[in-house]
């Protein structure tokens, strides 16, 4: 789960990382009041889960109340790369003497947290990594040892931060590491990490990604999830306990098992089709899960044909067939379905489907045959509706 900047800053502050004072606002009134409380100059910042807010005009400095109102008005409701701004964060303007970069990432490849520090802050770190890799000091931390003081010193000296802030930067990294572990983060990124003219070190931005699998023991963080910001189909699927990812195409896909579903998307694309979604109905899918899944898939108006690709292990093909028959009774789909059932109880599943004589349901034996057929059916339908 990704946090908005202000949520990330509040999380970091709980662990002692210095951040500027700020106020959250969702309306023009709250924004102008918030700016008055903070004082001027202040910074009005769009709160959306996407990079490039500054370039898009979503971050503005206001030197007085008039400017604050003007900027808040412009930014609220603004579209930033497809996302509408509903929330603002208004914070005291910082007087910047130096901009650094600090982050901790969950490095799956090294199976350890990776702490990074650079004096090239305020810019795209991937660009820095490409153009000047030596400008980033890196250190893996043994998860059973934890972050030690010398780690902070080593990173600060290696990155070449100003001599007078070596110690405070090291201390801040230690606090960042505390937050990373305590909140079970996958990513904590502070860009820029600034040094003020009073030589104070503080986090001017915060990008935080938390591990979804650990949210059960972080109920405060779990409550930060904003379902309205999610894709409606993805939200609907989540409520029903299905693993669903919306894609751009017109062929709805259902399979059992993440790997098989990914493979199904690939095979459909190779056959010239374009998948509308990833949907893993999971192991041991029962009939009601299939009905739910069909509803989610068909709630996407672009879907012109649907492919079921089931290789039954724990999942029984007869259960899937029953679910599909039930779905046809309740949802009454008007798009063609191609169903491939193989594995546990596949004969029984195919028999049930044959008996039900569902309209526009085609049973195929192989994955490749099913993919080819669903692509042809989707194209036919587009031709008819065009």
């Amino acid at each position: 789960m990704d946090l908005l900047e202000y949520q990330g800053k509040q999380l970091l502050r709980r662990h002692g990382v210095p951040v500027p004072e700020g106020v959250h606002a969702t309306s023009l009134e709250e924004a102008t009041q918030g700016a008055a409380d903070i004082g001027y100059p202040c910074v009005i910042k769009a709160q959306v889960l996407i990079g490039g807010r500054g370039k898009a005009g979503g971050i503005k400095v206001a030197k007085d109340a008039d400017e604050a109102e003007q900027h808040a008005k412009a930014i609220l409701g603004m579209d930033i790369r497809g996302l509408t701004v509903h929330e603002l964060w208004i914070e005291e303007a910082s007087d910047i003497a130096a901009e650094y970069y600090a982050s901790i990432v969950f490095d799956r490849s090294a199976r350890a947290p990776l702490v990074m520090l650079s004096t090239k802050g305020g810019m795209d770190i991937e660009e820095v990594a490409d153009s000047d890799p030596d400008a980033i000091a890196r250190l893996h931390v043994d998860p059973l040892l934890g972050f030690q003081d010398f780690h902070g010193r080593r990173l600060a000296f290696e990155a070449g931060v100003d001599a007078d802030v070596v110690r405070p930067v090291g201390v801040l990294l230690a606090k960042l590491y505390d937050a990373f572990i305590a909140e079970e983060a996958m990513l904590l990124e502070v860009n820029p990490l600034i040094v003020t003219s009073e030589r104070e070190v503080r986090a001017l931005d915060a990008k935080v990604t938390l591990d979804d699998n650990s949210l059960f023991r972080h109920t405060d963080n779990a409550a930060l999830r904003d379902p309205s910001a999610e894709d409606p189909q993805e939200q609907m699927a989540k409520e029903r306990g299905l693993t669903y990812v919306k894609l751009d195409g017109d062929i709805g896909i259902l399979g059992n098992g993440a790997g098989l579903v990914m493979s199904t998307l690939d095979v459909v694309a190779q056959a010239g089709g374009s998948p509308a979604n990833f949907l893993d109905a999971g192991g041991g899918s029962k009939a009601d899960a299939i009905v739910s899944a069909v509803e989610v898939i068909l709630s996407d108006p672009k879907v012109a044909a649907v492919l079921f690709n089931i290789f039954g292990g724990i999942t029984r093909c007869d259960e899937v067939a029953r679910g599909l028959i039930e779905a046809f009774a309740t949802v009454k789909p008007d798009v063609p379905f191609v169903v491939r059932l193989d594995g546990t109880n596949d004969k029984e599943g195919r028999r049930l489907l044959a008996e039900a004589e569902l309209p526009n349901v085609h049973v195929e034996q192989t994955m490749l045959g099913a993919a080819a057929l669903v692509v042809a059916l989707a194209k036919d339908r587009e031709r008819l509706t065009a």
């Binding site: 969950f106 799956r108 490849s109 199976r111 350890a112 947290p113 991937e126 043994d142 998860p143 059973l144 572990i181 079970e184 996958m186 591990d211 979804d212 699998n213 650990s214 059960f216 023991r217 693993t243 990812v245 894609l247 399979g255 059992n256 098992g257 993440a258 790997g259 098989l260 579903v261 990914m262 493979s263 998307l265 690939d266 095979v267 459909v268 694309a269 190779q270 998948p275 990833f278 893993d280 192991g283 290789f311 039954g312 292990g313 724990i314 999942t315 193989d342 594995g343 546990t344 192989t366 994955m367 490749l368």
Partner: protein, 294 residues
């Protein structure tokens, strides 16, 4: 021969008394796996279809000589269960549980790597040596004994590919699901190393997917260390960046972890990569040729 599990396996199941644990341990037992014990704290002294239940893994090992553990407990208890099995001296721990917090796995992985125990999974279907033993949830009826070793990050995709191989007359030495999480106990490299040493295995099939850089590292390892032919498959060519595709570990991050990069890395080291599961079995047939039973 086969790898990891076989006639010598003596299995203790943590979470045996749960619905899934009872069901799958029962299947494993009917397949011929020597299921010697279950562990559920507070239920010591009971039994599940004649399999004795103990309060701790240590007590189970002491009483039964269990050498392999299958972890079937919910995600919030799974890391603890793995630590307990390790502490009790279990050599092979197979963790089926999906949804274990990533930070738990950081500690589990780091701790276990300091000893000699081996962890398979989590978020995996387990290990099947056809005709010998099944530890996990792989539907054994689709597979027979043979000379193809399979290692995969996915469950059902493995069944799909295994089934295509079976239709061409190939059986398997061992099928190992290493799991779909960002951190798993055993890597492709670990398992392929075992297949290389296993006399029954003549061809190795590896099924990778998007996310991380294990497949790329494995390509280098194969080039330097593996004499047996390896056929690859990678799922997720159509996956958009930044989206988790079902498995917690299946995510393209920026330009990292794409299917294209993985397939190219393998092919650059001489590993043939099938573009569909069917093509994998075609390549396998081509490589093994006459050694496939009619």
């Amino acid at each position: 021969m086969s790898i990891l599990v076989g006639p010598e396996t003596k299995l203790v199941v943590t979470g045996l008394t749960g619905r899934e644990g009872t069901f799958h341990a029962g299947n494993n037992r009917r397949y011929g796996t020597d299921v010697v014990a279950g562990v559920t704290p507070g239920k010591g002294g009971q039994d599940v279809d004649g399999v004795p239940v103990f309060d701790t893994v240590e007590a189970a090992v002491e009483a039964t000589g269990a050498n392999t553990a299958m972890v079937f407990v919910p995600p919030r208890f799974a890391a603890d269960s793995i630590f307990e099995a390790h502490d009790a001296g279990i050599e092979l721990i197979v963790c089926i549980t999906e949804g274990i917090p990533a930070h738990d796995m950081l500690r589990v992985y780091t701790h276990l790597r300091r000893g000699t125990a081996r962890l398979i999974g989590p978020n995996c279907p387990g290990v099947l040596s056809p005709g010998k033993a099944n530890v996990g949830i792989i539907p054994a009826s689709f597979f027979s004994q043979g000379n193809v070793g399979v290692v995969s990050r996915s469950g059902t995709l493995t069944y799909q590919i295994g089934n295509e191989l079976a239709q061409r007359g190939f059986g398997n030495s061992t099928i190992v699901g290493i799991g779909g999480d960002p951190i798993v106990g055993s890597s492709f490299i670990d398992i392929i190393g075992l297949f290389e040493q296993d006399p029954q295995t003549e061809l190795i099939v590896m099924c990778g997917e998007i996310g991380g850089d294990e497949e790329e590292r494995t390509a280098d390892y194969i080039a330097a260390n593996v004499s047996k032919p390896v056929v690859g498959y990678i799922a997720g060519f159509t996956a958009p960046p930044g989206k988790t595709m079902g498995h917690a570990g299946a995510i393209v991050s920026g330009s990292q972890g794409t299917a294209v990069a993985k397939a190219e890395a393998l092919e650059a080291k001489g590993v043939r990569v099938g573009r569909t599961p069917t093509q994998v079995s075609e390549i396998a047939a081509d490589v093994l040729g006459a050694s496939a039973p009619a």
